[in-house]
């Protein structure tokens, strides 16, 4: 009897720890921090992981270790998503923190279990877990591929940076020489900051707007409609448009702030509202009046926007800047810093 208990003890401990990690965020932390207890709502995400854990309890120590590691990205993401990540308003900070957390966790895990699993096996399991975390919502919410890519688009660069960071951490674990290890540590930390503050936003911008810096040069002629239904083409000189299909107060205020920054400079700021259906114009005008926006409002039909060079992969609002009939900038509307930098450079005497 005692021998049987001794035999099953590691498996029981494993299963208990695995289950605790799995339900810690969605049940315990969610309840303690007065968030929603979302385990039952997202059963399609947690149930396969739980079944995998049970299967793991029947396997050998190495397989158990790898299965445990497979679920760790999900556990870390949900735990820190409810605690630490609330502190960060900027996506760059989030990317840096997530990557560093993942790398630190990976190295610690390797330090503890290097005798059982090799770093590359660990990296495989961990990256598998990250991919599961990324792709599972597609199956769970039943999105089609296009919708999923559109929704997941902002997360893709952060995931790419984190995945490459884990690979660097694996190399760090693989390194034996002390000096090389110290060097790799510096490389991983530097990569986390470069990736978070520069690489991920650039990549995101490239995916969404087709340009890494925002700068572009495309000849374009498109017709804009005024609220009084008169039609005109783009005016001469520098003019910036906030292209949007709804009035988000934060984005409008930030855009107004951008316009205030360049008051008195030879650039005109306008709002180009995308009209997807006939009644939308009325709603947009109402919102425009409610917010007392002090810049012109124009309309463009959605079909026309799709066929114009302004079309982006992003379904969100964006800022585009024209110089006469040439589109010279296309970028995000929140934050407006990229557009401000671009305009400052462009308007330099």
């Amino acid at each position: 009897m005692r021998q049987t208990l001794q035999h099953y003890k590691p498996r029981i401990i494993y299963l208990a720890a695995y289950t605790l990690c799995l339900i810690f965020a969605p049940v315990i932390l969610g309840g303690l921090l007065r968030h929603d207890i979302f385990l039952w709502r997202q059963w399609w995400f947690y149930l396969p992981l739980f079944i995998l854990g049970i299967i793991g309890s029947l396997c050998k120590a190495k397989a158990r270790n790898l299965i445990f590691l497979f679920q760790m990205p999900a556990a870390l993401y949900s735990t820190f998503g409810m605690t630490l990540f609330w502190l960060f308003t900027d996506y760059s900070h989030y990317t840096v923190t997530v990557m560093l957390l993942y790398c630190v966790f990976f190295v610690l895990w390797h330090t503890r279990f290097h005798s059982i699993v090799s770093p590359w096996q660990m990296a495989g399991a961990f990256l598998g877990g990250m991919l599961y975390l990324f792709f599972c919502p597609k199956l769970g919410y039943g999105y089609d591929w296009h919708t999923f890519i559109r929704i997941a688009e902002p997360d893709i660069p952060a995931h790419i940076v984190c995945l490459s960071g884990i690979l660097l951490a694996t190399l760090l674990c693989q390194t034996r020489h002390k000096a090389a290890r110290a060097g790799m540590t510096v490389v991983v930390c530097a990569y986390a900051f470069i990736g978070g503050f520069h690489l991920a936003p650039t990549l995101s911008h490239l995916i969404r707007y087709g340009t890494a810096t925002g700068r572009m040069e495309k000849q374009t002629t498109f017709v804009i409609r005024h609220p009084d239904s008169t039609v005109s083409s783009a005016p001469e000189g520098y003019h910036a448009y906030l292209v949007t299909d709804y009035f988000d107060i934060w984005k409008i205020k930030k855009y107004e702030g951008l316009a205030a920054m360049f008051r008195g400079r030879p650039v005109r700021f306008s709002i180009l509202a995308v009209q997807r259906h006939p009644r939308q114009a009325e709603n947009l005008v109402s919102q425009y009046q409610t917010l007392h926006v002090r810049m012109p409002l124009y309309f463009i039909r959605a079909e026309q926007l799709e066929t114009s060079p302004l079309a982006t992969r992003s379904g969100d609002s964006f800022i585009c800047i024209f110089k006469n009939d040439t589109l010279i900038f296309n970028g995000e509307s929140d934050p407006t810093s990229r557009a401000a930098r671009f305009l400052s450079k462009e308007l330099q005497p």
């Binding site: 303690l32 921090l33 007065r34 968030h35 605690t83 502190l87 610690l108 009035f247 007392h292």
Partner: protein
């Protein structure tokens, strides 16, 4: 150290988690935003209040059921702020939008509020006809609804002003009661300054004696208003600077917390790694020590084995020397033996011949024994009783009738025993001597067994049954075995085996 570190980490984590606890509120988001706007408005933070009023109004567009409650409130709040900021045009737009909305949805309170504000704006803009219209509508709603006093406060003054303005605009003289009312309002220092000036202006239009007072009051009002604007602008500027500083401080705070947490995590990680490595190194040293101990034990064992081997080798060397000596002796003996080899061959030939002769003698002895037994038996078969015994080697081959009941009586048994004694060297008598309890009949049975007579034939000879013969045989064997054990050394040749 380890415990302190762990406790510190736990405390920091608990504090961090406490900071992440969500506020428990049952109010819907839109209502919270509106309440925040009212609070900011009361505090005099007009810009943020305006933002929150606008947010309330925008949110209503996504929640149509809330728009009847909050949209017009948000718009009225926003209009009020525009009025305070002296953006009368914006304020009028907002209140007109509310008025249209209220008429479309039959919201009397909203219409009443908008009408009163629009009356005020129209009086300021000297659009007296519209002011009168808005005021009449506000009065009508107030009468129908019977609003409490705090909601209708100043309504009568507005009515007097609007009515007077309407009459004057039409070029009519003011009635005495209305004139008195205006004069009272102009002299009332507790009334709103704007209304006081408006009353003075209206009075001045009819009576020029009010003109200097009106001009003085107007001058004072705008001076004060300008100063207030300047003060407000300054306050707003300071507020914005303070807000910017607060945001910067907040960002610094966040950065500090993030850096602290990161440093803690990194430190914790490094500490854990170092601790683990220390532990690992200790284990490694222990492992090396145990390996060395094992190696020493093995070497000691090997040393003992070496000594033992050395001893064995020395012993073997001694034996080798002895063997060499023996070999030398053997060589000497063999050299001696070579001379006597011929004698040895002859001797061995003779020995072989002796052995052959001995073998032949033994065979002859056996033949003689057999011959003797045969002669004795043939002699027995020639005697009168034994002549009829049914035995295979009996040359007379008696029939059953010849030996049926042959030994059944005592006399014949005795004769048979005498014949056996005569032919087999006192066999029966010897049996009796060796086995004192043996009867004559039992001795007969023994003799018959000795002669290998079949039990069936013995039964016929003794005139008894086959089973009786078997029983008697067992009994005799018991007797003989008992006696045989006592007189083992005095066995008589020819007796049946025990």
């Amino acid at each position: 150290m380890n415990t302190i570190f762990k406790n510190s980490v736990l405390i920091i984590l608990s504090l961090s988690l406490t900071a992440c606890v969500r506020e428990n509120t049952s109010l819907p988001y839109i209502e919270r935003v509106y309440q925040e706007a009212l609070k900011l408005h009361r505090e005099g933070n007009l810009n943020d209040a305006l933002f929150h009023y606008q947010l309330t109004a925008l949110l209503c567009q996504y929640n149509p059921e809330d728009s009847l409650t909050f949209w017009w409130k948000g718009m009225c709040g926003q209009g009020g702020i525009w009025l305070q900021k002296n953006f009368t045009g914006d304020a009028e737009k907002d209140f007109r939008a509310v008025l249209e909305f209220a008429r479309r949805h039959r919201l009397d309170t909203a219409e009443y509020t908008a009408c009163r504000q629009l009356t005020d704006i129209a009086l300021q803009r000297q659009e007296y006809h519209r002011a009168y219209g808005y005021n009449r509508r506000a009065l009508q709603i107030a009468e129908e609804k019977g609003y409490p006093a705090d909601l209708t406060k100043g309504l009568e003054e507005e009515a007097a002003l609007a009515q007077s303005a309407q009459l004057l605009a039409q070029g009519q003289a003011l009635p005495e009661a209305l004139h008195r009312r205006l004069a009272h309002l102009a002299a009332d220092t507790s009334a709103l300054w704007k209304r006081q000036i408006l009353a003075l202006r209206l009075l001045a239009l009819q009576d020029t004696s009010y003109l200097p007072t009106y001009l003085r009051m107007q001058d004072e009002y705008w001076t004060t208003r300008f100063r207030t604007f300047m003060d407000e602008a300054e306050r707003e500027k300071k507020g914005l600077i303070a807000e910017r500083d607060a945001i910067a401080a907040g960002q610094k705070h966040t950065l500090f917390i993030a850096l602290t947490l990161f440093a803690l995590l990194l430190g914790g990680g490094l500490y854990a790694v170092a601790s683990h490595r220390r532990k690992h190194e200790l284990e490694h040293v222990r492992f090396l020590l145990s390996q060395k101990e094992q190696a020493i034990q093995i070497l000691e064992g090997q040393q003992e084995d070496t000594e033992r081997l050395r001893r064995q080798i020395s012993e073997k060397e001694k034996r080798m020397e002895e063997l060499a000596q023996r070999e030398r002796k053997l060589q000497e003996l063999s050299s001696l033996a070579q001379g006597k080899e011929k004698d040895l061959a002859r001797f061995s030939r003779l020995t072989r011949e002796i052995d052959e002769l001995r073998h032949r003698i033994e065979q002859k002895q056996l033949e003689w024994k057999e011959k003797e037994a045969q002669i004795r038996r043939h002699h027995l078969y020639d005697l009168p009783i034994s002549h009829r015994l049914p035995v295979a080697d009996n040359p007379h081959q008696p029939r059953k009738e010849d030996f049926d009941g042959l030994l059944a009586n005592k006399e014949r048994q005795m004769e048979f025993l005498q014949e056996m004694d005569r032919c087999f060297n006192r066999f029966a008598a010897g049996l009796k001597v060796l086995t004192p309890g043996l009867t004559d009949e039992e001795a007969v049975y023994c003799c018959l067994f000795r002669l290998n007579v079949r039990p069936t034939d013995i039964a016929v000879l003794m005139a008894t049954s086959r089973s009786n013969v078997s029983k008697r045989r067992i009994r005799i064997e018991n007797k003989l075995s008992f006696n045989c054990s006592t007189t083992k050394d005095h066995t008589v040749q020819g007796m049946p085996k025990c």
